[in-house]
């Protein structure tokens, strides 16, 4: 309860959380609230300025920008959930095994994590995309792989701190298997830093998808992804500024609210980390 109260008292974080809820609602209710079909092309409405009919204007194919942004939230949500899920699953597994078993397993896995950390994130994602090919599923896999080492490092550090604690020693002396100790006693105790990182990684995942699609190496070109919309927009900037501007605002707002909430969660879950930089 105290954690929820602390989080609630952090005004910026709470605003971020409310915005996340709105963003989730927008994604879930997209077919109901979008004024037009995001794929519907209309030759008579090409590059139309924002007006009362198309609040955020239309793109080069006459598709409604607002409807595409609303449907785009589904893509970014999907990318965020699945890619963070992949990173979390593999990262925690790798980090926990490395931290718990130590010795050469730790040395080997830590070097693998180091190597993955040695590539700038977007470059690693691009390489994975180059191998797998352009598609939404591959974007999620690529981003999932890129952010796996962050979770692995956090899990490893937490497990190392946890494994010498008395309750783990006690469980060991009672003959509890390693798997049960990890599952029942260690994982539940390292969730706080993982939740914070998952929230912040959600923001990174949205940015990474947008960057990949912006470069033309992300999702398929007809998908209403915010990054694809930015990519379309940059070619029409001289004639139609709105195509590039509004999806950018959507990305920035989504990333901002996940950053605010992530920072707020970090402060609430561990007050000693207050003021820590990203």
């Amino acid at each position: 309860m105290e954690i929820i109260y602390r989080f609630y008292k952090n005004r910026l974080a709470f605003i971020g959380f409310i915005l996340i809820v709105l963003y989730l609602l927008m994604a879930v209710l997209a077919p109901l609230i979008a004024p037009y079909d995001p794929y519907e092309m209309d030759r008579d409405k090409m590059l139309k300025e924002p007006d009362s009919e198309n609040i955020l204007g239309t793109d080069q194919f006459g598709r409604d920008i607002l409807s595409r942004i609303i449907h785009g939230s589904r893509i970014s949500l999907q990318v965020g959930v699945i890619s963070v899920g992949i990173s979390l699953l593999f990262g925690v597994a790798l980090g926990t095994v490395a931290g718990y078993y130590g010795k050469w397993i730790d040395y080997g896995l830590s070097r693998v994590i180091d190597v993955m950390f040695s590539f700038p994130d977007i470059l690693l994602a691009l390489v994975v995309m180059a191998i797998l090919g352009q598609s939404l599923v591959n974007v999620m896999i690529a981003i999932g792989i890129v952010y796996t080492p962050i979770f692995a490092r956090i899990a490893r550090g937490s497990v190392l701190a946890m494994k010498s604690s008395l309750f783990v020693e006690a469980a060991k002396s009672m003959g509890v298997s390693n798997f049960t100790i990890i599952r029942r006693h260690i994982i539940p105790n390292i969730t706080a830093p993982l939740i914070v990182q998952a929230t912040l990684s959600f923001a990174f995942a949205i940015l990474a998808e947008a960057a990949l699609s912006f470069l033309g190496l992300g999702v398929e070109p007809d998908v209403p992804s915010w990054g694809i919309m930015l990519n379309d927009g940059k070619d029409w900037m001289e004639r139609a500024w709105w195509i590039a501007v509004f999806p950018g605002i959507a990305i920035s707002l989504a990333v901002l609210c996940f950053n605010l909430t992530g920072d707020g969660l970090r402060d609430s879950l561990d007050p000693t980390l207050r003021n820590e930089v990203l």
């Binding site: 070097r111 693998v112 180091d114 190597v115 040695s118 590539f119 700038p120 994130d121 977007i122 470059l123 691009l126 390489v127 995309m129 180059a130 191998i131 923001a203 940015l207 947008a210 960057a211 912006f214 470069l215 033309g216 190496l217 930015l230 927009g233 940059k234 900037m237 001289e238 500024w241 590039a244 501007v245 950018g248 990305i251 920035s252 990333v255 901002l256 950053n259 605010l260 003021n275 820590e276 930089v277 990203l278």
Partner: protein, 313 residues
């Protein structure tokens, strides 16, 4: 100190080997025959045979890695099948643009981030502090490639002040060169500046709360001297580290930014190689950027140990 440097270098070696293994296997993971992937549209039986012999492609995978690694260590990264140019030459040709963009972004980040961070710490919970925090959050939340696009929209298309989409070398005209690079450098610099602001603020706050500062104040040290000599000097130690780390991340940021502004840098070369399926060039650029990233981090760690003896545990 020598022991610490040795330890850090020894940790970096397996990482560098790991990067080379990833770069090596990259081509092997591409579906289909490796030689076909390497030669692309330039495929001919004769060329394929020459390549197989040169890289020992009929031998075991470990032997192949050994041959490839020895080529790389001698500076032979292979040839781009798209242009026929040696890969290392193509990278080195584009490196100055990337280095200049990195340097300019870092300068902008320091010029923006450092004063803003110090002011925010000195005037905690004031308008300046909130402004700095807000700028910091915006800086890390707004995609820098979109920031770049907005800058083109405003400064190039609307105001017509700055050029976009072309590049002038520093040797041709310094002024024109700077005019072409200022927007991408600012877009990247704002992001790094946001991180520098946050780090400077928290570091300054920590130092200002320490006993020796209180002691100095009690002894009547002038405020300006106390802040800029006693406090800032120590507060800068973690800031220098974060700037060093950001230099590595700037390499990643430039991959996208060079594409937005059509700058002939290493990042754009990497994107072009991926888009053209020029696998040898892709392998070379990945290896180069990954190695540069590790070496920068190694240098930062050593520099950090030099300026802060506490880390040499």
């Amino acid at each position: 100190m020598a022991q610490y440097i040795l330890k850090r270098v020894l940790i970096a070696i397996p990482v560098l080997i790991g990067i080379s293994i990833i770069a090596f296997f990259l081509i092997r993971l591409v579906p289909g025959d490796t030689v076909t992937a390497m030669l692309g549209a330039h495929y001919s039986e004769e060329r394929a045979e020459t390549l197989r012999a040169a890289y020992g492609l009929d031998r075991s995978i470990i032997a192949q890695y050994g041959i490839w690694a020895s080529h790389v260590l001698q500076g032979d990264f292979g040839y781009s099948y798209f242009t026929g140019q040696p890969v290392l030459e193509a990278i080195l040709q584009r490196l100055p643009v990337t280095l200049q963009l990195t340097a300019m972004s870092i300068i902008i980040a320091i010029l923006v981030g450092l004063p803003l961070g110090v002011l925010a710490a000195l005037h905690r919970t004031s308008v300046i502090d909130y402004l700095a925090s807000f700028t910091g959050l915006i800086g890390v939340s707004v995609p820098h490639f979109w920031m770049g696009t907005l800058m083109i929209l405003f400064f190039s298309l609307y105001l017509g002040w700055l050029p976009s989409g072309s590049f002038v070398g520093i040797a041709e005209s310094l002024i024109d060169n700077l005019r072409h690079l200022i927007m991408p450098a600012a877009a990247l610099g704002i992001y790094v500046g946001a991180v520098v602001t946050r780090m400077t603020r928290s570091s300054m706050l920590e130092v200002l709360g320490q006993e020796y500062i209180k002691m100095s104040r009690a002894k009547g040290t002038p405020r300006r001297h106390l802040i800029y000599v006693h406090a800032l000097k120590n507060a800068l130690i973690p800031v220098i580290t974060i700037i060093g780390i950001q230099m590595g991340y700037l390499l990643a940021g430039q991959v996208v930014m060079e594409q937005v502004f059509a700058l002939p840098g290493v990042g754009r070369l990497a994107i072009q190689s991926i888009a053209n399926r020029d696998y040898i060039l892709m392998q070379g650029t990945i290896l180069f950027i990954g190695t540069a990233f590790v070496l920068i981090n190694l240098l930062v760690d050593i520099l950090y140990a030099l300026i802060n003896p506490q880390v040499r545990y």
